[in-house]
């Protein structure tokens, strides 16, 4: 009986530690769903937000797999976050010369609907760009990559531009011994045939 009570504290501590660590670990797990691998000789556009010299390392890994990497914004990638801040829209929306609180209250739904339409139109613009990638650039796949440091999750996504369908998603928990090249190799090996 005494033995149980002596063990109770460490066991409870370990359980608490596991419960606390559980969600963090699970969300950092390496997982992948690849419905369709990129066939050799396919044209791909790779989008990644990192310095040009690092981009070259990434593109070379794809090229070594006999994939045709299109020079699409190869040295000039911005995220939407950098070029457009949606919070600006909120400020513009609320700027009114009629200083009437009831008007603002009544207009709330109008502003909200404007915001929603803005999101739809933003998605529309991106879809049109994807269409151009296929038609004008002759690309078959769009690959998006984001690399993270040790203990964080790097990820990749592949879109088949023929159907606009996501055909591959990979989360990779970056390991202590990983280098940029090993992480890219992991992605390329899983995404390409």
């Amino acid at each position: 009986m005494q033995k149980i009570s002596r063990l109770a504290k460490p066991v409870a501590f370990c359980t608490a530690l596991l419960v606390a660590a559980g969600p963090g670990c699970a969300s950092k797990k390496s997982v992948a769903v690849v419905k369709q691998k990129i066939a050799p000789a396919s044209s791909v556009i790779v989008i990644v937000d990192c310095p040009t010299n690092v981009q070259n390392v990434i593109y070379s890994k794809f090229m070594s797999r006999d994939l045709k990497v299109k020079a699409f914004n190869a040295s000039d990638i911005y995220t939407a976050q950098d070029v457009f801040d949606i919070t600006d829209f909120k400020k513009v929306a609320y700027k009114t010369t009629l200083n009437d609180i009831n008007l603002l209250f009544s207009m709330q739904k109008t502003y909200d609907n404007l915001y929603k339409l803005h999101v739809y139109n933003y998605e529309l613009s991106k879809a049109e760009t994807l269409g151009q990638m296929k038609d004008k650039w002759g690309a078959r796949y769009l690959v998006l990559l984001e690399f993270k440091d040790w203990e964080r999750v790097s990820w990749a996504r592949v879109i088949d531009l023929a159907t606009f369908e996501l055909v591959g998603v990979i989360n990779y928990s970056t390991q202590y011994r990983d280098t940029l090249e090993t992480v890219i190799e992991h992605f390329v090996a899983n995404l390409a045939q």
Binding site: L103, N113, K116, A127, E165
Partner: protein, 353 residues
């Protein structure tokens, strides 16, 4: 001693008051279901429908119900009468007067081939939100079957997760997802859907960072389609636009500007949105069947979802307060799995054979 007795008495009174309020049952009041057809022979259903819904709901929930005649009686105290229809902005005032927690009203219209269209609107006191849906189905010979069908929709919506589902989303459907997640979290939302046999169209999946992940994304919780809506109430009566000979050109332009804003983005928002959705679908080369909007809480342990059929622009699915399983370590993946399980599920009427 006397003071002590007084103290005990006061405490007891407090407990009674708290208990009274804690156990006060929800009151659901019903208005009429207006007959939208020209055939007056159906007028008797205007009262029979709400009375039947009230009885059906009371038999399942521990609630107080007020049928139209009781509501009428209550309104007479204010020299008012229960109208057949109300504008949404009239509901907050009405519900305060009839002292109810939820008010349900609607209309019906018999259709050819023995079909009937029933439209119901529900307003919860102080929510400033109205949920309205239209159900088209068989005009049953036995009216209780029809009542059960509609009551089931109401009961599900009044439940904790505000569930409304008009049809299943079959495996193989092409689903475009708008959400407030990005990066590896977004991948974890996609994976169960892809594994579950759904084609995920790349909306939002085609960018490195999500431009719409802030709190404001929550406005997508409100949705309006041709026949159904879950929306907030705006009362334009409270806004004055003074007009007169004194108006100069600037004033006129400003008034015209607000009129256009209101017309395009509030009054005719459904048409404006459908137009935007049409263009988006066309740009995606019609590779989308369902638009799924999923909003996650900051800690990712709860989410809400709205699904709209992109083809016929109908509201397919509403669910709120979806909670992840506490034992499941990754809430995003867990909620995504719940969504996949819910996609194919149809809400069957348990009373129907």
């Amino acid at each position: 001693m006397k003071a002590r007795l007084l103290l005990i008495g006061a405490a007891a009174a407090c407990i009674c008051m708290i208990a009274g309020s804690a156990f006060a049952r929800t009151t659901i009041a019903f208005g009429y279901l207006a007959n939208r057809s020209a055939n007056e022979n159906y007028n008797y259903l205007e009262t029979i429908f709400p009375n039947s819904f009230a009885s059906s709901i009371k038999s399942i929930f521990d609630v107080e119900v007020k049928k139209p005649l009781q509501v009428e009686e209550r309104l007479r105290k204010f020299d008012l009468e229960l109208k057949k229809t109300y504008e949404n902005f009239e509901l907050p005032e009405l519900v305060d007067k009839i002292d109810a927690d939820i008010f349900i009203m609607g209309s019906f219209q018999p259709l050819p081939n023995n079909q009937i269209s029933i439209e119901l609107s529900m307003y919860a006191r102080e929510s400033n939100e109205v949920f309205a849906f239209t159900n088209v189905g068989r005009m049953e010979t036995e009216i209780f079957k029809l009542v059960d069908r509609i009551s089931l929709i109401v009961i599900n919506f009044l439940d904790r997760e505000n569930l409304y589902k008009s049809r299943a989303i079959p495996r193989g459907a092409r689903v475009a997802i708008l959400t407030n997640l990005e990066g590896e979290e977004l991948n974890r939302l996609y994976m169960p859907l892809m594994e579950g046999g759904y084609a995920v169209t790349c909306v939002q999946g085609d960018e490195l960072a999500n431009a719409f992940k802030e709190e404001r994304f929550d406005v997508f919780r409100y949705v309006r389609t041709k026949n159904s809506s879950y929306d907030i109430i705006t009362d334009w009566r409270k806004t004055s636009f003074p007009l007169g000979a004194w108006m100069n050109r600037d004033d006129e332009e400003r008034a015209a500007y607000f009129r256009k804003l209101y017309t395009d983005f509030d009054l005719n928002y459904t048409a404006t949105k459908n137009d935007a959705l049409d263009r988006m679908t066309k740009a995606l080369r019609n590779n989308v069947d369902v638009l799924l909007v999923v909003g996650f809480s900051a800690n990712r342990k709860t989410c809400w979802l709205r699904a709209v059929d992109v083809k016929d622009r109908e509201l397919v699915w509403i669910q709120s307060n979806m909670k992840s399983d506490a034992m499941f370590a990754d809430p995003v993946a867990n909620l995504s799995e719940r969504i996949v399980r819910g996609m194919e599920r149809e809400i069957k009427n348990p009373f129907e054979k």
